[in-house]
Amino acid sequence: MTASKLLGALFAATILTAPAFAQSYPERQITMVVPFSAGGPTDTVARLVAERMSEDLGQQIVIQNVGGAGGTLGASQVAKAEADGYTVLLHHIGMATSDTLYRNLPYETLDAFEYVGLVTEVPMVVTARQDFEPADFPAFIEYVKANADSLTLANAGIGAASHLCGMLLMQALEAPLVTVPYKGTGPAMTDLLGGQVDIMCDQTTNTTQQIKAGTIKAYAVTTPERLDLFPDLPTAAESGLEAMQFGIWHGIYTPKGTAPEINQRLSESLQKALADEDVAKAMADLGTAPSPAEDATPEALKTKLEEEIARWQPVIEAAGVYAD
């Protein structure tokens, strides 16, 4: 970095509030806050798109991992940041669920951010240990309903994708399974592999390799259509579980008050990154796909967030589990 850039940074840091500035945006490094620790699935998604977006924006996007409290620490840091477009947030479905899960959030979810766009929506797969008896999903439903109180359901902690999916599954089947929480996906998956627990419903990111290797059994996916990845797996909706339709969507946000031009510029850049073949391939390896261009827009993300907050509130309240 040169001295002039440094001066530019100083300049930008202090007097940048005027929307007129948006024309020359970006003039310096952008910080993308990922509210989870480095190396996790969300961090991976962030690094994938950040690299391509940097190329398009002509400025480096650096990832800052601000983990903790289910993503709310990172989100609240961005909520409080200057609305100059140099601090952005990449968060997943937790943005919507934490609104209900945390009863003392330091920010108003719908009031503290501007929107850039959706990044990807990772499908979920209902899986069970390798030697689980039922042969297919209809049989699975029967079996789980009949043996609810003797079966165990693993999840990776409160608010995790597997926790959300587990809640949906239990409510859809009206089967109160014995819930076994873990600290993170790693230990939960280990116990599923070892047959210590019976069922887990988690993102393809975490399950694809195990399913392909045959070390765990897959029953259904939660997408509206079957996945190219597993054409033989039915969707949950095919067996009448319409409520079990969801994915772990990721979106990019900016602090409230960020100029619309800036969000638009970031959104364009995001669309280009998502159209990149390498990004698509890397995402395919994870069992997901980039969001289509029409979803990588501020409007689409805003609608999604509002819908999802409304959707999860009753589910979480019915389960009666909170994270604070």
Binding site: V178, D191, L286
Partner: protein, 502 residues
């Protein structure tokens, strides 16, 4: 033979000139960053991770492995030189390593750590190569009940970490366990002991606690009588161990390697116990256990070997299951995914060049580490001749950066100050920090697995004794307890007798 051709494939990949260079750069960078106080292996890897993204997948992972070994060794170096461990494993090294350094034997301690690690690393690499798949099957037999019993064994061993009062050491372990409870309860989401601060929802940061109770407390102790106390012995006699010291090293290194290799395989946190377990055993088999805590060579050689062997074999669950055993391994998985390799059970068969390349590079990384660091020991030891009043402001600056860089959480820095004060007061009261740290690490694992085991057994507590592995571990704990306490009781009786004689 299959293994030979696989290894040949691996070495073919890893020993290309470019990959050797990346490995060397990785080891060098890892050492240089890891040697900064308060910056442990996790922080080092997180900082250096982005550098590797531009490379080919194999090269990137080879470099990352180099960084990992370098960072680990760098962490041991600060533990020995300034009593500042950056990982739970080097906390054990700090106990005797730092005392050796104070007595002018820093060079010997560092060389012992390097050589012990190299030997352990080499052996463990071959274990990984030969036994990876069958060992995984055993690791999967470990459920919550087994882990609970394993952690109980760790707790029992922790008592041996103390070289003063056993009672106070026990109290420190329990205090550590309590501190480990801070944060959100995994089962109900209830926040515990967070004082209403969401910043502590994920618990106290290990580096903050370790830097506080070890490093900062030590700095404060050294500042007590600045005028009349020499902090470090200046006359450093030798840099390398002599023949006698080499002889002393052999046993601890062999035992440490064995223990570390076995514990590292368990994905649920076995590697954490490796260095603690080794220390306990060395103290137990030593002819003069009184030397421990005052600069025993075996107290460095054993745990360092165990630690490195464990670090190596903890690659097994990563490579064969695709499951990270610790935060460092989680970072490695992230790096792999970004490179388009999703680790899982099929990596071995689908990408043999990658799998065996990494295994070969593990060994090469260890070799480079020793080649690189033996000459550097002279330099590190020279650092001790820097006046202390110049050294400690630098230490404070580095550990502020290091602690902050992990999660960008200012509260972690507040925790550093708090635990510095607590650690200082505790050391004034002659309570040692190592048992506290062990308790802190084991606490969450102990509670989580206990509660999980009870849920899985539907509330039947006999699960711990009816499951064979768990029962064996508990029996072993009992045996250790008897071994540790019997001599204590006998000694106590002797003391009583001597007193009444007088």
């Amino acid at each position: 033979m299959d293994l030979l051709s696989n290894l040949a494939l691996g070495f073919g990949v890893a020993s290309s000139l470019a990959n050797l260079a990346f490995c060397l750069i990785g080891v060098l960078l890892g050492t240089l960053i890891g040697v900064l106080p308060g910056i442990g292996a996790t922080a080092t890897i997180a900082m250096l991770l982005p550098i590797t993204f531009q490379l080919e997948p194999v090269s990137s992972l080879i470099m990352l492995a180099g960084i990992y070994y370098g960072a680990q060794y760098g962490g041991s170096t600060t533990a020995i030189l300034i009593n500042m461990p950056g990982e739970s494993s080097s906390a054990v090294t700090a106990i005797d390593g730092y005392q050796m350094a104070r007595k002018g034997r820093a060079g010997t301690a560092l060389a012992t750590a390097a050589l012990g690690s190299f030997f352990a690393g080499s052996v463990a690499t071959f274990l990984v190569a030969i036994f990876a798949p069958p060992l995984t099957t055993i690791a999967l037999k470990f459920g919550a009940a087994e882990y609970f019993s394993l952690m109980v064994m760790g707790l029992v061993m922790s008592v041996a970490l103390a070289h003063g009062s056993v009672l106070k050491a026990l109290a420190m372990v329990v205090l550590g366990l309590l501190l480990g409870m801070v944060g959100t309860d995994v089962y109900t989401g209830a926040p515990r002991f967070t004082m209403g601060m969401n910043q502590f929802a994920d618990g106290l940061n290990f580096v903050a606690v370790a830097v506080g109770v070890f490093g900062i407390a030590e700095i404060l102790r050294n500042l007590e009588d600045e005028h009349d106390r020499q902090v470090m012995t200046k006359n450093i006699t030798r840099l390398f161990p002599n023949r006698e010291e080499f002889r002393q090293m052999v046993g601890p290194v062999l035992r440490g390697t064995g223990i570390g290799s076995v514990l590292g395989i368990l994905p649920g946190g076995g590697a954490i116990l490796a260095s603690f377990a080794s220390y306990t055993i060395e103290k137990k088999v030593s002819k003069n256990p009184g030397e421990f805590g005052k600069g025993a060579l075996a107290g460095v050689a054993g745990p360092e070997s165990a630690n490195n062997a464990g670090a190596q074999t903890s690659f097994i669950p990563l490579l064969t299951l695709g499951i990270p055993a610790n935060p460092v391994m989680a970072l490695m998985i992230g790096a792999m995914i970004i490179q388009g390799i999703v680790p899982g059970p099929n990596v071995v068969t689908e990408q043999p060049a990658l799998f065996w390349g990494i295994i070969a590079s593990m060994w090469i990384g260890n070799l480079m580490l020793v080649v690189l660091n033996l000459p550097l020991i002279g330099l590190w030891v020279k650092l001790l001749t820097v006046p202390y009043y110049v050294l400690f402001p630098i230490i404070m600056a580095m550990c502020s950066i290091g602690v902050y860089s992990v999660n960008s959480n200012p509260y972690d820095l507040f925790a550093v100050a708090f635990f510095g004060l607590l650690g200082y007061i505790m050391s004034k009261l002659r309570c040692e920090p190592a048992p506290l740290l062990l308790g802190f690490v084991l606490g969450p694992l102990l509670e989580e697995n206990l509660r999980r085991a009870m849920i899985l057994s539907r509330g039947d507590p006999t699960t711990f004794v009816t499951r064979p592995i768990s029962a064996t571990l508990l029996l072993m704990s009992l045996a250790i307890l008897v071994l540790v306490f019997l001599p204590q009781i006998r000694k106590r009786r002797d003391e009583v007798f001597t007193e009444s004689d007088a």
